[in-house]
Symmetry: C2
Subunit: 190 residues, 2 copies
């Protein structure tokens, strides 16, 4: 996706060999016009999968999933990371290790909002080691629903999440795949 | 907004005199078609304010802000609740007390993404005691930007957030205002 690559090259800030900040348009300030292009692109790639529901995880995935859902015309469900008094007691639950935050946390979805037989598209902003994506897949499988695809905006090709998912037979579509950031430079694998 | 009232009456679950769950369409599962109507409604109410930026707070506010931003054609910025290694060091910071989670937490926005002179529209799903809205207003004022309006999907008219904001001269628009849930019943004030 060329418009996305251009934004990453223009505004991405390489913080270390492994960390790319794209918070000017993707995950702190959100460029909604770009998100519409991203949503259309996901729709093009998954439109023949009869998607019935989009699943993501708070917080940065919510905007991507919500805009994409306009094209698929299906509801979004987002997994919650924190305990809330207002969350249903009956939930599907999984565990994620966050390298960014250096801790384990639970993610949960109310059993009301993923149904047996649903064709679920999982969307998120980044794929690195794949921990969050695998936990979301776990939630879908607990619900006896189908993982119809995983759509990622930026995959870090030098971490093993992408390979893990592909080897597991997941239909993974990453809009861009970046290589390790050597000497502060951004290069793309796809 | 009649379509919203109907959804609240049809699907809202009254959990106590003060708690209404609307997680089937507003803040866990998201009905994006309804969100488009909500976004248009906010646009109608604030379109003459020359909005340059929409500010919200993670997580439930993000979807509302993102869909509304399509109509305003401005970027969204969402305040973050948790420390992240990837957040800029230079942030505007404020403190919120959450009655739902029974704790204080910091919210932060990078100084890069709210500018002096910006006309900021603050959007969120619920207004109860107003703590989150006041903290967002604080962030905008720290940036020497203008609070051009606050748009809320559901205001709890029996808590004092709405009055606090109106008394402070804030241009507050709540799409619906609900009264205390006596005997499990939902009634609207506006």
């Amino acid at each position: 996706m060329e418009s996305l690559k251009k934004r990453i090259l223009d505004e991405g800030r390489v913080v270390s060999e492994e960390v790319l900040k794209v918070d000017s348009f993707l995950n702190h300030q959100l460029d909604i016009e770009l998100f519409q292009d991203i949503g259309k692109e996901f729709y093009d790639r998954f439109k023949d999968k009869n998607i019935t529901r989009i699943l993501t995880i708070e917080a940065s995935g919510i905007a991507i999933a919500s805009i994409a859902a306009m094209y698929f015309k299906v509801p979004v469900v987002f997994a919650k990371k924190t305990e809330s008094r207002n969350l249903d007691k009956e939930t599907y639950k999984s565990v994620v290790y966050s390298f960014t935050k250096e801790k384990y946390y639970d993610i949960q979805v109310s059993k009301r909002y993923i149904h047996k037989g649903d064709n679920v598209l999982i969307l998120d902003d980044f794929l690195a080691n794949g921990k969050a994506a695998l936990a979301l897949i776990d939630l879908v499988e607990q619900a006896q629903a189908n993982v119809s695809g995983v759509g990622i905006v930026i995959e870090k090709g030098f971490q093993n999440g992408g390979n893990k998912l592909r080897e597991a037979g997941v239909n993974l579509e990453s809009l861009v795949i970046v290589d390790r950031f050597k000497h502060g430079k951004i290069t793309f694998i796809n």
